[in-house]
Amino acid sequence: MALVNENTRLALVIGSGSVKCAAALGLMKVLERENIGVNLVVGCSGGALYAASIALGWPVETSIDKTLSLWTRRVTEKRSRKAVLQIILPGLFHFDENFGLIDDSRLNRQLYGAFGEASFADTHIPLHIAATDFFDGEQVVLSSGLIWEAIRASLSIPYVFPPYRVAGRALIDGYQSDPLPVGIAIKEGIDIILAMGFESPYQERITSLMRYNFQISSVTSNNLLKTNFAFHNLAHHSEIIPILPEFTQRIHLFDTEKIPYIIDEGEKAAEQALPYLKRLLGATGVSG
C-alpha cells in the first residue's frame, strides 16, 4: 500500500524552546512557497505561541510584531508579593498549588492583547496545545476554548508562574510531560509529522544555586525530549521528519531582536528536509 496518497495528512509539531520557536515561521514560509498543506498544528510552551499564530493564518510579519510586543522581560519583572510571603511563612500565608514567584497579570494581559477572543474554533488549521496536569503529571491536550488561555497554561513554568486552571485542572508547562509532543499528532492519525524541537541550553559556568537549578532543569528536559522522541519514532506507523535549526549564537529567553535570524535558521533547516519531503509527497501532488 502506498505510504502517501490523496488522504495523507501532515502535521507540524513545535516543541518548547521559548523564542527559538519562531523558527517555525521560517519552516512555514518554505511550506507555503512549495504549496505543501498542513492538516494539524501542535504546540508546546513557547511553541504554542507560534503554533497558534500559524493555525490562525497570521502572516509572518503579524506573528513577528505580536511576539515582539508580547514577549519581553516585563512579563517576568513583577514579583508576586504574596509569593514572597508564602515562601517564608507557608502556613500563615496559605501556600498552595497556585504558588508562582511572578505576578502573572502582565503576562495574561499581553497574551489577551495578542490573541483576544480568538478560540480554537476560529483557526484555519486545527490546533492542539500541550500542557501538564500539576497533580497527576499527565499531558493535557487543549483543543477548545480561548487560545490565549491555552497558551498561558502551556507557558506555566513551575515556580515562576502560577499554574493556570482550565476546566478545573491546575495546569503547568507542557514540557514537563513532553517537550516535543509528537504523540498528539500520532493520536490524530497524522501520517507525516514535521517535528521542530529544541534542546534546552546548558550553562556555560555554574556560579550560583539558581544556575545549578537551571542546569538540572535543562538536563532533565533534554533527556525527556530525546526519550519521548525515540519512542514515538518507533511507535509511529509512518514518518517523523525532525527539523532542527542550528544556532551558532546563544539565544536567551527574551532575545526577541534575534527573531529574524531565528526565522532564517528555521528556513534553512526546512530547506534541508525539503527534498525528502517532496519525494515522500511524490507524484500524487498531495497538498493536504
Binding site: I87, F134, Q176, Y202, T207, L209, N223, T227, F231, A235
Partner: protein, 281 residues
C-alpha cells in the same frame, strides 16, 4: 534456531529507599536459582546492584541497607538551605546542600576497597554528566566511586568526579537503564523500577519542587520504558512494587515491609519468567 541458555539481566532503577525492595526480589531469585548474567544499577538501585553482584545473601542485604541511611546523612542541609534563601550561600558546580562526609563514610564502610573486577556478576552503574547532560556508564575501577556518583541527587548532594567528569544521579538521564542490559546482549531483562508518588496538597516550596521533580521522573521512566519495550528483541519483565504511603529516606524502620513488597512483586512475575526460561524459543 537453537541456542544456549537465555541470558538474564537484572536492572534496578532509581527509587530512594524503595530500592530496598530489591532485597525481596533477590530473595526470590536466589531461592528459585535463577541465574543472573549481568546487573545494571541506577541511583538507589546501584546500592543493591553492587551487593547482588557480589552474590551475597538477602539477609545481609537488609543489614547493610540499614547502615547506609543513618540519621546524620543529611547534615548541613537545613543551614545551607537557609543560606541559599538569604543569598549568603556560595554555590558552584561542585556544591551540594548536604555535607557529604557522612554519606561517604557510610558508603566506604559498605563498599570499601571493592572494585568492579572483584565482582561475581558483571555490573554496570549509571550516572549523569552534570555539564553535558549525558548518561555515563561505569563498569571499571572503584565501586564506591560509581555508587557515590550515581547517588548524587542534584542540588542535595555534591556531584562526584570520576575520570575527570563531574557526575550526578543517573536517574536524571535514565531512571531505569534497560538499554544497558539490551546492549550487553541480554535476552531476558528483569527490571525493577519505581514510580514517584504525587502529592495531593502542595503546602510549601519544597513540596512544589518535589512535585515538579516527580512529574519529570515519572514521565521519563514511562517513556524510556516504552521505548525499550519496542526496541528490545526479547522479553522485559517489569517489577514495580506498590507502596501504600509515601516513603522518605528516613523510613529505615520500614525496610522489612519494603523488602516484602519487592518479594511480592517478583513472585507475580515469576511464573512468566520461569516459562520463558524453560522454553526453547
Amino acid at each position: 534456531m537453537g541456542q544456549s541458555r537465555k541470558r538474564v539481566a537484572l536492572v534496578i532503577g532509581s527509587g530512594g529507599i524503595k530500592c530496598a525492595a530489591a532485597i525481596g526480589m533477590w530473595r526470590v531469585l536466589q531461592a528459585e536459582n535463577i541465574p543472573i548474567d549481568s546487573i545494571v544499577g541506577c541511583s538507589g538501585g546501584s546500592l543493591y546492584a553492587a551487593l547482588i553482584a557480589k552474590n551475597i545473601g538477602w539477609q545481609e542485604l537488609e543489614t547493610l541497607s540499614r547502615s547506609l541511611w543513618t540519621n546524620d546523612i543529611m547534615q548541613g542541609y537545613t543551614e545551607n538551605l537557609k543560606a541559599s534563601k538569604d543569598g549568603s550561600l556560595r554555590y558552584n558546580e561542585r556544591s551540594g546542600l548536604v555535607n557529604d562526609a557522612v554519606m561517604n563514610r557510610n558508603l566506604q564502610q559498605i563498599y570499601g576497597e571493592l572494585s568492579f573486577s572483584d565482582l561475581t556478576i558483571p555490573l554496570t552503574i549509571v550516572a549523569t554528566d552534570l555539564l553535558l547532560g549525558e548518561k555515563v556508564l561505569l563498569s571499571e575501577g572503584s565501586v564506591f566511586d560509581a555508587i557515590r556518583a550515581s547517588l548524587a541527587i542534584p542540588i542535595i548532594f555534591p556531584p562526584w568526579e570520576v575520570n575527570g567528569r563531574l557526575l550526578i544521579d543517573g536517574a536524571v538521564s535514565d531512571p531505569l537503564p534497560i538499554d544497558v542490559a539490551i546492549q550487553n546482549g541480554a535476552d531476558i531483562i528483569i527490571a525493577m523500577g519505581f514510580t514517584m508518588s504525587y502529592r495531593q496538597r502542595l503546602r510549601s516550596m519544597t513540596a512544589v519542587q518535589e512535585q515538579v521533580n516527580s512529574i519529570y521522573m515519572n514521565n521519563l521512566l514511562s517513556s524510556t520504558y516504552a521505548f525499550f519495550n519496542l526496541a528490545h528483541h526479547a522479553e522485559i519483565f517489569p517489577i514495580v512494587p506498590e507502596f501504600d504511603e509515601p516513603l522518605t529516606m528516613f523510613d529505615t524502620q520500614k525496610i522489612p515491609q519494603i523488602a516484602e513488597s519487592g518479594m511480592q512483586a517478583t513472585q507475580e512475575q515469576l511464573p512468566h519468567i520461569r516459562r520463558l526460561l524453560a522454553s526453547s524459543q
